[in-house]
Amino acid sequence: MAFHSYKGGTGKTSLVVNLGALFAKQGANVCLLDYDFRAPSLNVLFKAKPQYWLNDYLEGKCEIVDTLVDQSARFKLPGKLWVGFSNPSLEALKDIMGKDRKWEVKALTKTLAGKKEIIKDKQVDYLIYDTSPGAQYSSINALAGADLVSLVMKADEFDLEGTKELSKGVYEALGRKSGIVLNKIPLEQIAAGGGAESFGKQIESDVGLPLVGLIPCMCELMAMGGKAIYTIEKPDHTFSKSIGQIAEKLKKM
């Protein structure tokens, strides 16, 4: 599955990490891939220094499984939690921005081949891509590799319009199953709209995709961003419970 959004700052990375950790906690084998090559962030949370980056795989310098680092022992998870990181160095960011369309063809075929290799070699139950916002090449490559796309959005008008465009122009065109995760919902907005469910139904009808989850805005989460995995460290927290509900819905899609 892939987590994508029209704009940045919608909380994709946080969702990906917490969801992946929850699946591994439930005993599943999970692989997270940081496909946000323009603003890598999984390396910050996992404090990783891998031997190979995903960038190296796309350049043909290694196999995709060589990029994966198992994090399950560190977090005492019963299932495996493999993570593939993208290179955060300025040199790597410049390199990615200078790629031509021919390189992107190779990146697409390598993304699709890499998915098969990971599933076969690591026996993963869930492969989750964290993507760059908007219509970036790397993001759409990841969406092409996913069977299920979760669109993460905040509840403002700009997000809504852009999300509608993405839904029609990309998700529908690629024929991928998709759903919306509405994140960082201000409590006042929920109250004014007659409750979270009613608000969610409105968004569902506006965007034309089913709602997968609703997560209220929590200042505490923003302050802790990148420092903690709530589904492991605070399983009873409202955020962890919301992730649990999203996980159950995704399993049924």
């Binding site: 369309r101 992107e104 697409l108 075929t109 098969k116 090449y137 759409i140 092409a144 065109a173 024929g175």
Partner: protein, 123 residues
């Protein structure tokens, strides 16, 4: 007319009849393919600018039926029309037609290996 000449004419008519049956079966097959493709199979190719690589931007600009084939081929790497038809759940003749449309658009290449024709995306 001698009985030998009669036999030759009858033999010729039988051959003609067999050929007509073959042509008829092929026409029926074409009609079936066209129907199952929702009217796309016999349409002229979609034109794309020359030397366009088959990246996601080009993919998103393709009509749905060709995009499905191209995406499946990108996933398989190298495949025959039969391999593709298993991936897309469409009949082989339809996949073959779509792949050849993609070849005509220079988005996909093909090569022969023994009796099989393999399609692939050059990257």
């Amino acid at each position: 007319m001698s009985s030998k000449a009669d036999a030759a004419i009858i033999d010729l008519l039988r051959k003609l009849n067999r050929n007509v049956e073959i042509v008829s079966r092929k026409l029926e097959r074409l009609i079936e393919v066209e129907r199952s493709a929702g009217g796309h199979a016999l349409r002229p190719s979609v034109s794309v600018p020359e030397n366009m690589p088959l990246d996601v931007t080009t993919l998103l600009g393709l009509p749905d039926h060709l995009r499905k084939s191209a995406l499946a081929l990108a996933s398989l790497g190298e495949a025959t029309a039969t391999d593709l038809s298993k991936e897309t759940s469409r009949v082989r003749a339809v996949e073959s037609d779509y792949l050849n449309q993609l070849v005509a658009m220079s988005l996909v290449k093909k090569k022969r290996k023994g009796r099989d024709v393999y399609f692939y995306i050059e990257s």
